[in-house]
């Protein structure tokens, strides 16, 4: 376990700060920008966007609906209006294009908290983590969908920190900060990437979309990987990298296909060798004839299993 204190140092040295933080900066701009758009109304009286992430209206014409919330409402017995359905269609379509969990890394405000927790964890060098399965979130997703069926009420929204934080910032937080603080402490002291990576059913829902979404991170120059481990260090879903990055000799393509990948692009940032880039689900390795190449690579570059 070669633990460097700061992953991405090498990338900053070779590529410069901006290029080594490009996607991180863009992501923060997106997260704060979306919050800002929603806040322009209540704070400045500029009503470009109304509502919150559950449902919003942009410029009075564009409806956007959170599919997970609406699905719960439908399971509780609601027949939504056309606006809400159009909103769902648009949102699902967009995330099918840009990647399901782009919601998690580019939109969701809780990501700011869990990223901060991750950073804190790294700074305090906390290694211990309670073992919660990464698939627990799919069970959680199941629970959130069964509860409305049983109770006829959108139960998950009583405690959903994702909607609570965003709504809280736009409409008033109340005691929700306690839940958010809880998530931070949980991620720092209890479970590494515990909330976003193991429990959050909202992320799990978008993860399902991500299984078939178009835009993907591609390890297109995986033959240049020098095993520095920086991408594994920064990735909130490390397990998604290995097949694409190290699977050449098993005949696995370079595309990170796992739905759990949030398309945050941090691996692209921190890689000094520029192994990763955004591409499509159908991308091939940079050098043509990747099939043949894998056979050559097999002998050429034996990867240590310590990775």
């Amino acid at each position: 376990m070669a633990m460097k204190p700061r992953p991405g140092v090498e990338a900053t040295q070779t590529k410069g700060f901006l290029r080594a933080h490009k996607w991180l900066i863009l992501r923060r701009l997106s997260q704060f920008g979306i919050l800002g758009l929603f806040l322009l109304g209540p704070l400045a009286g500029l009503w470009i966007v109304k509502g919150n992430l559950a449902y919003s209206e942009t410029l009075e014409v564009l409806p956007l609906t959170d599919p997970h919330v609406l699905l719960q409402a439908v399971l509780a017995g609601v027949v939504p209006h056309l606006d809400a359905l159009i909103g769902v269609a648009i949102v699902v379509l967009v995330y099918l294009l840009v990647g399901g969990r782009v919601y998690c890394s580019w939109v969701c405000p809780v990501n700011l908290i869990t990223d901060l927790a991750c950073c804190t964890r790294r700074m305090l060098d906390i290694r211990s983590s309670t073992q919660i399965s990464r698939s627990a979130r799919y069970w959680m997703l199941g629970v959130t969908l069964v509860l409305p069926l049983v109770t006829g009420s959108i139960v998950w929204e009583l405690v959903n920190p994702v909607s609570m934080m965003f709504r809280g910032i736009v409409f008033g937080l109340g005691m929700a900060w306690m839940i958010l603080l809880g998530i931070f402490l949980f991620d720092v002291f209890v479970s590494k990437e515990g909330w976003c990576g193991r429990i959050c059913p909202v992320g799990a829902f978008y993860g399902l979309l991500g299984r078939v979404s178009l835009l993907r991170v591609v390890a297109s120059k995986r033959d240049q990987c020098d095993d520095c481990m920086d991408c594994f260090e920064v990735c909130p879903e490390q397990q998604v990298i290995r097949p694409a990055l190290k699977g050449a000799d098993k005949g696995i393509g370079p595309v990170i296909t796992a739905g759990e990948c949030t398309n945050c692009g941090r691996c692209i940032d921190v890689c000094a060798e520029d192994v990763f880039q955004f591409g499509s689900r159908f991308s091939k390795e940079d050098a043509n004839n990747s099939e043949g190449k894998t056979h050559i690579e097999k002998g050429d570059k034996p990867f240590s299993d310590a990775a």
Partner: protein
Amino acid sequence: MADSTKGKGKGVSRRQFMGNLLRTACGMGLMGLGLGLYSKQASSLPALAIRPPGALPEDEFLGACIRCGLCVRDCPYDILKLGQLGDEVVAGTPYFTARTGPCEMCEDIPCIPACPTNALDHNLTDINDARMGLAVVIDQETCIAFLGLRCEVCFNVCPIRGKAITLNYEHNVRSGKHARFLPVVHSEACTGCGLCEKACILEETAIRILPTHLAKGVLGKHYRVGWEEKEKAGRALVAPDMKHRYNLPEGVQYDLQGKGLIMDSGNTDDVPISSNPLDTLNRGFGDQ
């Protein structure tokens, strides 16, 4: 030999798999149970929080409202608030408090079309048909109309004036010479907007909007109000009205709520029964 070890290894992993599965299932089951129970507890709306016009009955509302807050944004009077975690109102759901900000009963009801899920029923197009709650003159000990003073503020601010709240004139027994102008709420017209509660001049309001199910009594299903049935049918339904026959001495009639005792002799000043008991005892024998 090799087979048995392989089988054994497989058995252990299946065991582990089942163990993990059960552990996760138990965890999720408990989580679900906890959330479900919490939802039952959290779903009781406090009496003073009023849902916007057209809101479905509370249990349906909590299944339909996706907590987007658009009704709050589209309320021109900014009376709607979203519940926050820690409030008694379910987090993210809209409500208003009549005493501080009542529903102004906009004719176009902008909060309703804003709702994407019909949690606010789009079939409600006439605000006068809204039933957000029911006004109740909740304290007759402090309502100054009941004390015998002229107030009538609730009656006058009522947007369905003269129908939702009427004034009942009553003799003031205390002073013996004045009338009391008592506000009476009629549930067939009251929308529960809360303008009366806002306007009540008391320090603590004597008229309150309550959830209809808390404010309304319900007659037994078998119960019929006789005079209404009679009016509907145009005649008495039970038995024809019969003139009551009083058991009175000869030559005397009784007119209820009218003249009272009537002497056949025509002289109403006559006492029908002599003060001398002997006269009664000897009645009928006088001629002999």
